[in-house]
Symmetry: C2
């Protein structure tokens, strides 16, 4: 349990899951990621990308062209995380109405 | 994407996933949950249980016996979350060595 918790510090993180999901179709630049992930701050995206790179889940490639840019891409291990996280993400979308209803019910009780 | 994020505030949370996982085999009391989830504080467990109850994912039952106690149990919707989160939890356990290795490698670079 303790070691599972150590990994969940990474993958049981909303922003990490959203970054991995957003990179599912191929590499993206920082600005593209920022635009695609609603509500993420510049700093939170920077920290999340660095953690995912450190964990071996994505690679960061610097292109020395004009203008220079940086691209992020899932590693093979990152792709397996994307697969493993997919059911949870799908569940989230499917159950949002039921959760909204449960919250209204709960908040309406005395 | 925005609505997924709203649900991930709940389920993309390490402690919530660990509580749901710990309740997979049936109802448990607060003290049993606290003992089973390594490192969770009294306050964090209280908040996590209340959020999961509010979201309709578990029920809280008070037993007016001596001594009185409170029991927590997954709802049918909570059980479907447990199913959806299982691949991510299994992935976490399976990939912990690879992630540890990636971190050592990353931290060892200049």
């Amino acid at each position: 349990m303790c070691r599972t918790r150590a990994v969940l510090d990474i993958v049981g993180d909303k922003w990490a899951l959203l970054v991995v999901r957003t990179l599912r179709d191929g590499p993206l630049r920082f600005t593209e990621l920022k635009r695609a992930i609603d509500g993420i701050s510049q700093r939170m995206l920077t920290v999340t990308l660095r953690d995912l790179e450190r964990d071996g889940l994505l690679t960061r490639t610097v292109f020395n062209v004009m203008p220079p840019h940086v691209s992020y891409e899932l590693t093979p291990m990152g792709l397996t995380l994307r697969e493993a996280a997919a059911p949870l993400l799908e569940w989230s979308v499917a159950h949002l109405p039921a959760i909204d209803a449960a919250r209204s019910d709960y908040d309406g009780r005395g």
